[in-house]
């Protein structure tokens, strides 16, 4: 065990002060820990890129209308981008809510209800988003 280099005004409650951050020892929580980081790296590009393209550059959201979406989704590249972002962001976000619920929702029954509600909501939105991203066909309304 390395010795801490910094002087502390008050003694730590833990018998051995830890220098690095905690990581789950194994099992589901370790996979969750790893998933949050890996999906985070991917979302760094997908979500930050999305936000900059759609909300900041070239008039931002003002130029986004039905025709804009139709032109954008004419390319399988953007459909794939949006679907990957949808999937990763939902799982990343709902897993994040689960981690937060571990801190603030103490009763096991209530925590289960909270987690189940978000999981169901996430699944419904995933299905809705997936169907729209892959079945959207602007020619039904005579648009390009």
């Amino acid at each position: 065990m390395a010795t801490p280099t910094m002087e502390r005004a008050t003694p730590l409650a833990e018998p051995a002060p830890r220098i690095s951050r905690e990581r789950p020892a194994g099992g589901f929580e370790l996979w969750s820990w790893l998933f949050m980081r890996l999906s985070g790296i991917v979302l760094l590009f997908l979500a930050v890129g999305h936000v900059l393209i759609m909300h900041v550059m070239d008039e931002g959201i003002d130029r986004v209308d039905f025709g804009f979406v139709a032109a954008r989704w004419a390319s399988p590249f953007w459909r794939t981008w949006d679907w990957a972002m949808l999937t990763l962001a939902l799982v990343h976000g709902i897993n994040g809510l689960r981690v937060i619920a571990q801190d603030y929702v103490r009763r096991p029954g209530a925590r289960f209800a909270v987690n189940a509600s978000f999981a169901i909501l996430g699944f419904v939105l995933f299905v809705l988003g997936t169907v729209v991203v892959f079945t959207f066909d602007p020619s039904r309304w005579g648009a390009a």
Binding site: G40, V51, G60, F66, L125, L128
Partner: protein
């Protein structure tokens, strides 16, 4: 854990890690709540131009544009702070340099926000007729 006298009246003694931990949670919750709404409003595109125009017209309101600026800030902060978390987690020895790394992360965030506030703030003022 029992409170020590020195803890009373302080919020975790204000280390930068505590503040960014809190901000990471707050921005994360804000983003996922927006995402719940955003998946639905985007899905309306599958019901044709009229329905989509009606729903997406909400985004042309100046106050919603202001919230949108907040959303962009939240995404950017969450992304940069997440990157910082990964540096600490994958290279634990860097935790010793937490203060300068936190300061650098904040600096990058603030610098990135300058042009974004300029651009998006401009369109908020335009909507208000002040520009």
């Amino acid at each position: 854990m029992a409170k020590r006298r020195a803890d009373v009246g302080t919020l975790y003694r204000g280390s930068p890690g505590q503040w960014s931990w809190l901000a990471h949670r707050v921005t994360g919750v804000a983003i996922i709540l927006f995402l719940f709404v955003h998946v639905v409003d985007t899905a309306v595109v599958g019901w044709g131009p009229e329905a989509y125009e009606r729903v997406s017209s909400v985004y042309h309101n100046w106050f919603v544009l202001l919230l949108e600026l907040g959303l962009v800030a939240a995404v950017l902060f969450h992304a940069l702070n997440g990157l910082k978390i990964m540096v600490f987690d994958f290279w634990p020895s860097t935790v010793r340099h937490m203060r300068p790394i936190s300061a650098a992360t904040t600096l990058v965030f603030v610098l990135a926000m300058v042009p974004i506030v300029w651009i998006m703030g401009g369109s908020v003022l335009e909507k208000l007729g002040w520009l």
